[in-house]
Symmetry: none
Subunit: 199 residues, 4 copies
Amino acid sequence: METAPTTRSRLLAAAAKILSEKGYSSTRLTDIAEQAGLRTPAVYYYFASREALIAEVMKVGQLRLREHVESALAALPERKTPMDRICTAVQAHLQVELQLSDFATAVTRNIGQLPQAIQERLRNDGIAYIALWRGLLEDAREAREIRPDVDLRAARMLVMGALNWMPEWWDERQGSITETVSTAQSIVRHGLSTLPVRE
Amino acid sequence: METAPTTRSRLLAAAAKILSEKGYSSTRLTDIAEQAGLRTPAVYYYFASREALIAEVMKVGQLRLREHVESALAALPERKTPMDRICTAVQAHLQVELQLSDFATAVTRNIGQLPQAIQERLRNDGIAYIALWRGLLEDAREAREIRPDVDLRAARMLVMGALNWMPEWWDERQGSITETVSTAQSIVRHGLSTLPVRE
Amino acid sequence: METAPTTRSRLLAAAAKILSEKGYSSTRLTDIAEQAGLRTPAVYYYFASREALIAEVMKVGQLRLREHVESALAALPERKTPMDRICTAVQAHLQVELQLSDFATAVTRNIGQLPQAIQERLRNDGIAYIALWRGLLEDAREAREIRPDVDLRAARMLVMGALNWMPEWWDERQGSITETVSTAQSIVRHGLSTLPVRE
Amino acid sequence: METAPTTRSRLLAAAAKILSEKGYSSTRLTDIAEQAGLRTPAVYYYFASREALIAEVMKVGQLRLREHVESALAALPERKTPMDRICTAVQAHLQVELQLSDFATAVTRNIGQLPQAIQERLRNDGIAYIALWRGLLEDAREAREIRPDVDLRAARMLVMGALNWMPEWWDERQGSITETVSTAQSIVRHGLSTLPVRE
DNA sequence: TATGAATGAGTTTTCATTCAT
DNA sequence: GATGAATGAAAACTCATTCAT
């Protein structure tokens, strides 16, 4: 049996939804409150300020994104190669971002335009997630699964960019997520791999 | 007689710069005017409204992006393969976005968060640019340069997403654009190609 | 049966403290409640409104001020002159205001800036205290202890003003209250007296 | 010919008036704007914030108070005694506070309840005015015009307190300012003087 | 052609107050 | 007797926009 969501979490969810749709600067407390079935001042009963609320959404999103990807990786059998792990991360990232969590979407769509203050509160979590991807790529390189002409930093930015951009365009009515995920995996795998790719 | 072009274009350039840095909702007319060396009301001498100004920036950006990529493609020798053309587009897109034009950056960073009204004014141009990429991919597919397991629409979204995301992260002090471009080209080429890739 | 007196009086004392420190408009129910170890709504169990609470603080303060001064005067031997009585009042007023009672301080620091409604509820008590001082001065005049050039009303305002202003400046770390009181008495006595003053 | 008061100075004057009537915390930008014949946001065209506006009122008031008193002292013939100078300062202080300037009244009525930030901006001016009075009293003491039993610091606080309190009570309909001033001077002179006072 | 001056609409924030528990 | 939860009213402040000059 699920616990009824508390007002506080309803506010967080509402904020995540609005943030993922409208972006940081266009997100109004009024809209968040309405989405949560409250009047605006109620927000201040649970959060010190607009910024505090948004920062918490981001923190949760950052965390959820990472945990979901880490869980997916942890569930993988030992024998999987580093490149397999990258493909799993691709799938998990897309899934959480497109399907599971407005919080994650809120992060990927707004991370670049948050004010300094919030950016800094997210720094550690952000770095942790980037580090996770860096690790994935480095492992693959060590295993000689990534071509030597590929700059790892640029590759990481490109791959994560491709994934992060998805929410801008992706529309569940226009195509199954499964197909999108598998295309993404295929492109990433071949995009990085030394030849030939066994499939 | 036309109104003096310089002030008007200075305003456009200023708006492009601010938009590419702060994003749509955080872009203030005051900042734009200041950037252009004017006071805020001067904007209204040249543009009907904030929205009109921003819409024009986007239109210009959209156009410049497309024209730059189209020129690069046009300059290519006939004998180049469709995949070569894709790689050229990758380079041209990154170049205009990262180096040449705030207008282009303004487009790629804000296209997703513009209000309906502006989105619609950009529809045709946006579609044209997307069509250009769709054409590139379709040509490559026809030439059997793209693996059959790759969904063209998803691939296009992923590739353009990877490129569009760059301005979020890319820092000219952290690496040469040349290297980034060539990693991007390599990933895209291998990401899409049937095997083996000739280089 | 009466409601428990302790909590109610704790609230009054808390309000007196905050009022004497921050002044009427800056006094928040939250601060008062916190000072009393309660949550804000608890205030409404004991008082109809913020205004009612503050009005009562003022009423108590007004009363305490007057009673303290009256007691001091009552304790004086019959043979004391009217001017001696004034000096006693000076001492008593300063003592209650600076040492004994936040309620009294709350009154003297806020009386001028209370809203009409509260002012009116205090009218009678205020008038009574003023009448007390008027009486003291009139007695001294009748006894020819006050110079004829001194306008009694102005003198009363000046003397009470000097005393009421003390809480603004007085700092127990910067000087003993005894010395301040005796300087005040001396200035008042000589300030009003016909010459020469016997001491 | 007088210059028409600028909007900015109208705002300052309006703020001084409201501040002198309602006190710091009860002073609303709306009231100030209305008093100046404007809408609230117009305030921000001339001042960065409510605090900035109020701080400037206080600064002006502080300055005017001091300048008026200093001018009055400067106009005094050389042969005047220190005590004569004190009496002149009493008159000048009362005059500017009660008759000439809402700015001065705003200062004396609010100085104790301003937020830290403003207090600090006023520190220097406040100290200067206090120093002026300290000087007056010290000169009088050196000239043996003040009784030895009078503590100079306490005396200064009492005298300035008596004057500063006046706006709380004084009502021009209830008595001429001339009479009040002369009573104040008489009380101060006799209150401080060694005997007998020559008049 | 451009600006100084001003404002309406809207946003975050504060706070006294209510009410079910 | 007291509080957690919530809100209406109002405050400071922001910003696109207007308009006379």
